[in-house]
Amino acid sequence: MKFSDTIVCAVALLGIAGCSSNSVPQFETSQDTGKLFQPARDAVESELQAAFGTPENLVVWPDLPVDFGSFGGSIEKVTTQGTLVVPLAGQSALATDERLPELSGAAVLVAPAAGGEKGAEGGENAAAVYRVAHYDPESKTLRVVDENGKPTQVTAAEGDGVQVIGDGLQKGRNLYLKHCMHCHGVSGDGDGPTAPYLKPRPRDYRKGIFKFTSTKTGVRASRDDLFRLVKLGVPGTYMPSFMLLPDDEVSAIVEYVRWLSMRGELESKLVVQLALDFGSDQIGPKRTFADMSTEFDAFRGSDLPDIVKSAGEELGADWSAPEDAENLVIPKEERVASSLESIARGRKMFLSEKTKCYSCHGETGAGNGAATEEINDLPGQPGVKAEVPGLFDAWGNIVKPRNLQRGLFRGGRRPIDIYRRIHSGIKGTPMQAFGNNLSDQDIWDLVNYVLNVPFEKKTQASH
């Protein structure tokens, strides 16, 4: 009797355990979005949803320079209905030949030859959408079905452009959720479950700013910068090295991180526009919720699409720029060999009024300059003094100037890395760009000095 009760109980518990559904992580909206009044918040969320989707269901926004690992080619021959002969070639680093047999299910855009690939990318010039049923790399035959997986007729001619949208981003998402999410958060806000315990805080991608780049001031981080950073880690922080992840996996992660950055940037761009008029704190006796709703409906109908469109264009331009070789910081002169003279010149430069390096990094490079004890302006708000002394980064955290004596260089220890730090500054931090004020020669002297600081102490002591 009692015994069967127990069994029933046990089976019921097993049932509960077995039936609980697998929930999916969701993007969180930013704090700033939370300050908008409800309809505006909803609008921002739905725009983001439309442009980026959810972590479960990623959306392609063709305006953005995101590498989905797509393949492209032009039709050589249309054989039977639904079967095309297309030599597909990878259009990006994520699209490698090994992935060709795995394309089944991917979206296919077929656009008339006149539009060419551009038409396919733009997605507006009446590109027809299909799905890959099978692709055989040997015979280069591509069999397509319609979006519901049913056989379909293909209206295509020889020479038409074909683009197969890859799953690089989904792959990146999966890897991101496994390796990165616990610190950087599902939405890339640097606030994952582990983040509260980490110093410095994990990067919040949503400003689109990454500290250690090879690009000029004001230019975003390039794919290679992020790739290198993921591979090598950031010494002195909790960002570990993912050296042994295969390159294609790292590339996929990088792509997803860029995509998350763009998502965050779009959100903040929209919020900046909306916060002026539609903040929830502006609701009051003079302007009721209903008033604001009416205004907002009008705004949403007229202005908002344009704002989204131009924001998309900006994002597209901003995130394409770092891939342009012109925007890379490349020294014009070779490094000056590290010699006692060069180091002495570098030290002089370090202590000079021209650079004022010492004001933050301290006279011995210990990172304890006077500025760390002063009340400084808040980041992005010139003239507004912070309540506590110290230097702030763009995310509002106090940053310590690097203690050069430890010989830990977060952005890399190659001369070129340090050159770039000095030339274009560390983005989002008070470390400013000296590229316009200093000659290459000066910078190289500084580099030699900085690299020598960890060893300098001992030599001084021995004098």
């Binding site: 009692k2 015994f3 127990t6 097993l14 479950p193 582990t194 110093k199």
Partner: protein
Amino acid sequence: MSTLSPTADVHGHGHEGHGHHDIGFIRKYVFSTDHKVIGIQFLMTTLLMLLVGGALALGVRFQLAWPWRTVPIVGEIVFSGEGGTMSPEFYTMLVTMHASVMIFLVIIPILAGAFGNFLIPLMVGADDMAFPVLNMLSYWFMWPAIFFFGLAFFWSGLDAAPAQGWTSYPVLSALKEAAPGAGIAQTWWLMGLTFVGVSSMMGSVNYMTTIINMRAPGMTLFRMPLTIWGMFITAILQAFALPVLTAAGFMLVAERVLGFNFFVPGGLIVNDSDPTVGGGQPLLWQHLFWFYSHPAVYIMLLPAMGMVSDMLAAQVRKPIFGYKPMVYSMAAIAGLGFIVWGHHMFTSGMNPALGMTFMISTMMIALPSAVKVFNWIGTIWGGKVRFNTVMLNCVAFISMFIVGGLSGIWMASVPTDIYFHDTYFIVAHFHYVLFGATLFGCFGAIQYWYPKMFGRKMNETAGKLHFLLTFIGFNGTFFPMHMLGIAGFPRRYADPYIHPYMEHLMPMNRFMTLCAILMGLAQLILIGNFILSYFTGEKVGRNPWQANGLEWSAPSPPGHGNFDIPPVVYRGPYEYSSPLIDDRDYLMQTDLPPKRPVEKEQDNTSSNDAAEGQG
């Protein structure tokens, strides 16, 4: 016969007997100084904690089988932001708290606390412990321990619990920057540990005094049941080893809170903090910790060995095979137990010469264990075996202890331990000993002494089903861990599968997790059986198992003061199937010597012919 001493039903009859007076409900059942009530309180508490620890273990198993998947039932509540998936630091917290709960709140208190309290006075023929109030305190000091462990887990949210493993190696446990749970939670954890220690120490002092001073007339040391020997040796171990752990705990607290510097060397930069200053030595903690915690392994085993010996003899109706070797081997285990702690540290970088000495002493500790196993098998040999739940659990104890003991040999030998240290091989090993041996022993003991506790028997069918499911689930969960260990699968990994050489082991882990769930559910049968038998179990008299021990001469359940007839002991506890009498196959310790002249037909060379010899 019930006029000498009040029995259970005497409550309310006024002042009678030796000054036992009418006591209220609270004094009788809550803040009771009666060793039996305290023992049962310990038992209930530890069974509750067993469920808690088991639930934590299932969390661990879930993550290993389905890494980064939504945790069933609790996932969406606790980890809503990440889609219900566990965070890596939470995994290390689960591991830490599972071990802490199981070791400090289940295994040690269920043996020493529950059975030690309940059995020692009954088996040595005393009316209570030597220090009843101290005994009560030893139970009530468990609750601050549980409270502080709970506080550690919940204080700053679920994701800031202690996460440095139950071993709490500094530097991880000493610097608050080192891990999410190394803040205040770690201090609470150490507080909890201290309270467990205080509780154990109170019990230990009490047990030693009771066993030495309060034995009934005729109860010589070598007429004591092996359970009492096990408890006695355990109490000695605790008394000598615990101060070291307590001191180490205070040192760690002092280091964390007061800025002392015992364990943390200088120049460490953890979590972007300023470099540490000082000259501590992390290995010091390991030495101090294992100086307690290795003997603690025997604290977690010896009483179970004793209890199994008693139960086994009763179920096979045969004297224990080699009583004195059993006693000596327990003493040898305890003695050697103090000089083997270094085998936890073979790869730690201590002086390699120590590795050699510790290897030899560790190998040697296998010897008394082997002797005990052989003696148990010898005990069953030629017996009339009753295959009831008690017997099944005892056989499982022996069988599992063989596995746990044998796998220990790889760890005792330093070169192979280089490979097996901190892999799942170790996890398999100590689960076979602590769960496989100790807990099966405890399951048997619960069934065996339940009639003495509550006057009713537990249900046999449910007991057998519980045994069967637990045994299958247990082996399904822990036997494959040997293979994992051989495959180099390290402990305490939240996601081992990011390492290519372990990817193919995920299906095996899924199988293990399913077995673990089965095993977890099986414990509900035990709990159900335990509770329902209290109301519906078959009522029994004083000696339902026809056993010999003193406890079976007391009423079931015994009243306050235990024995209605003051016991006098005439022989050892294992005179089953004695040729001295014909009508029954047991001869209780209190039975008067039979009149018939004795024919000397037993083997004189054996150890326990103390029956008549040592009056």
